[in-house]
């Protein structure tokens, strides 16, 4: 009969800070004994009395959490919001970039289509699991360390933080995202000469003019969003400059690919794709992607600029209403 009480008390103590154990043990034993005595006094059998008294105290783990002041959740309301936002950002933005880079490297490594799919699935699962695990671990530790959530924010929320719904409104974050792509392309263009594969992927002969030229255009593409942000308005000029940049980039790429001067012949020769001819196939892919990307870019910016210029409304789904606010 006593062994039941012993087991209960030890189970509680196991999960309580060491320096409090002797104090909690004495108090808990006395409380249990008091409860048992009261039950025996009212006519219960001693064995039943112990069982009922322990049953009343409930799950020892829960009692121990109460004594230790431990929260019974992993991430509390203080951190939930910022934890969720960070996970969404990582999984929706960073993960696709990482997976794409991994897949491209595999393709350049002359992997078969099956191997590339394997890499995509494997990378997505592994990197995704790592992201979720580490972010959750860090926030769980912060929560337990007693850091107050608001300390992580630079300033408390204010109405100025409300998102903008005007068509074509530019925030510094939008601009930063638009700058990243050209910069990544420049990095890829330079790195393919030295990294990834034994022979450079792109024709090294073009370093005499076309690759430096494309890098120059890409630098202009990276400066364009900054210029737009500083202008602060979508005008016909903005649309025209964007279209000009798109043509300046796409036309030489398509011409180089069509005339067979885009890829490094040495690298093409190292590919072994069986029946398919790698040069034909890759040339087709480059031309299609370049054309589609250029058309998308020109049309998207054109439509957005036109909507913003006219101060057109943004529909709010589900309300049947529109958000109207003319751009100043």
């Amino acid at each position: 009969m006593n062994s039941l009480i012993d087991r209960y008390v030890f189970t509680v103590l196991r999960r309580v800070p060491e320096q409090q154990r002797s104090d909690i043990e004495q108090e808990l034993r006395t409380s249990i004994d008091d409860a048992v005595d009261a039950r025996v006094g009212s006519g219960e059998a001693p064995d039943t009395a112990v069982e009922q008294a322990l049953l009343e105290l409930g799950d020892p783990d829960r009692l121990a959490d109460g004594y230790a002041g431990r929260p019974r959740y992993l991430i509390g309301p203080e951190f939930y919001q910022i934890w969720r936002r960070m996970l969404v950002m990582l999984l929706s933005t960073v993960l696709p970039v990482v997976v794409t880079v991994a897949a491209v490297i595999r393709v350049l490594d002359q992997a078969t289509i099956g191997e590339v799919i394997g890499t995509v699935v494997g990378t997505a699962l592994t990197v995704g699991a790592h992201m979720v695990f580490w972010v959750t671990l860090i926030f769980a530790l912060l929560d337990r360390a007693g850091v107050a959530g608001p300390q992580l924010r630079r300033k408390p929320w204010s109405p100025d933080d409300l998102p903008h719904y005007e068509a074509g409104f530019l925030t510094p974050a939008n601009t930063a995202a638009a700058v990243v792509w050209p910069v990544l392309l420049i990095a890829g263009l330079v790195l393919q000469q030295f990294g990834f594969t034994e022979a450079p992927v792109l024709d090294p002969a073009n370093w005499s003019f076309w690759w430096p030229y494309l890098i120059g255009v890409l630098i202009l593409e990276a400066l364009y969003p900054v210029w737009l942000l500083r202008r602060g308005a979508w005008t016909h000029t903005a649309t025209a400059v964007n279209a000009a940049l798109a043509v300046l980039f796409a036309a030489p790429v398509i011409w180089l690919a069509a005339t067979g001067r885009f890829f490094n012949p040495e690298w093409i020769a190292s590919l072994n794709w069986g029946a398919t001819d790698p040069l034909d196939w890759l040339t087709g892919v480059v031309i299609v992607i370049t054309v589609l990307a250029a058309i998308w870019d020109v049309v998207e910016v054109g439509v957005r600029a036109e909507r913003a210029r006219r101060g057109l409304a943004t529909p709010v789904p589900g309300t049947g209403r529109e958000f109207t606010s003319p751009l100043s």
């Binding site: 108090e27 004994d33 105290l57 409930g58 009692l63 002041g69």
Partner: protein, 119 residues
């Protein structure tokens, strides 16, 4: 969710915190865990031992209770007692409780509102 579950959820919300007021008020006379549990259930507070015992230690850590071991009897007991600060806080909490009770009562009295609107 059934009606009973809804009600018990709201009752739990409403009762949260009343155990603190009750404990600080009762422990103006020194008492130990089990005696307080008995007193509170006899007074009509639905409190569970596994909530109350950790709560007493938390209130002690906040300086609202002090404790001392009484080893005069065969069974050593830890006696808690409300401090001056704890008493002040309990008084403030009881004041708030009375204010809320009156406010809810006023809302519930239909004559008061009609009389008010006619004047």
């Amino acid at each position: 969710m059934t009606m009973d579950a809804t009600l018990s959820g709201h009752l739990q919300e409403l009762r949260r915190g009343t155990v603190v007021v009750a404990s600080l008020t009762v422990l103006r006379e020194p008492g130990y865990g089990y005696s307080l549990l008995e007193t509170l259930s006899a007074a009509g507070f639905e409190v569970e031992a596994n909530t109350l015992y950790p709560l007493l230690r938390r209130l002690e850590a906040q300086g609202l209770l002090t404790s001392s071991w009484n080893t005069d009897e065969a069974r050593p007991r830890k006696f808690y007692r409300t401090t001056e600060q704890g008493d002040a806080i309990a008084a403030a909490l009881r004041g708030e409780w009375a204010r809320l009770d009156k406010a809810v009562g006023d809302l519930d009295t239909p004559t008061g509102t009609t009389a008010g609107s006619e004047q």
